[in-house]
Symmetry: C2
Subunit: 125 residues, 2 copies
DNA sequence: TTTTGTGCAAACTATTTGCAAACCG
DNA sequence: CGGTTTGCAAATAGTTTGCACAAAA
């Protein structure tokens, strides 16, 4: 594990924020200005592959990265894109697996809302 | 509604497949060779905005489009990306909304598995 | 005709990759 | 040393957009 990978991992592990690659790149460069964007993407890919972090595919927006490794739903603001972790409901996969008779390998549940901050700004068109 | 929009809509409405923009483009061009790729994307966007079809954001793959307008989970093959509709479980959103005290506007639930066809080919590394 | 939509091509965003030099063990 | 990783820059994939012309209301 190189200095740059450790740095990238630390940024993700240090806070519950679900940051984009670009945000991580900016934060990392504050500490290591020579860091290349490609290196960030490469290491994020490796960390995901090794199961150290999770990648969250967002709708019409760059992916975000989650330090929480166990599967759980996410609460996503439709306006600003902010993501919050939710506790994992028991038996979600098991229920579907039993109903369909298929073996499930994982799930991705996003619940959409408008966060208080965004609701405050405006809500009509 | 123009001929091209009607054609694009028909392709989606005609089958339960969840096709990508490129697949729709190819199918549409079989019938209207002058159709431009940009027109496909523009019309898909409009159809989604008007609630006629639904856009499915896929992990590390192009988006797919669903003729089913009402919210429901999707069963996704991790290997080939094929998507199948699942019946909507009652009270999924309501349960979370009540537990968190937030108003939810929608959800996106993907359940991952390996489809029989892909399981047949190989499964180790 | 007045608006809206199309085809084409260029632009854009997020991400990936080839390569030579730097690093790690 | 010898394989791995980096930084850089160019390449990609998917999608969006500006513009002059064509179709629809």
């Amino acid at each position: 594990m190189t200095r740059q990978r450790q740095l990238i991992y630390n940024i993700i592990a240090a806070a519950p924020e679900h940051r984009t690659a670009e945000e991580i790149y900016d934060l990392a460069r504050a500490e290591m200005p020579s860091l290349a964007r490609g290196t960030v993407y490469r290491n994020l890919g490796l960390l995901v592959r090794d199961g150290e972090i999770r990648k969250l595919e967002m709708a019409d927006a760059p992916a975000r990265y989650d330090r929480e490794r166990s599967p759980h739903p996410h609460l996503v603001c439709q306006v600003c894109g902010r993501v919050e972790d939710l506790p994992a409901p028991d038996g979600l996969m098991e229920g579907f697996a039993a109903a369909r008779g298929v073996a499930l390998t994982g799930y991705d549940l996003k619940l959409y809302h408008v966060c208080p901050a965004c609701r405050g700004k405006r809500h009509g068109a």
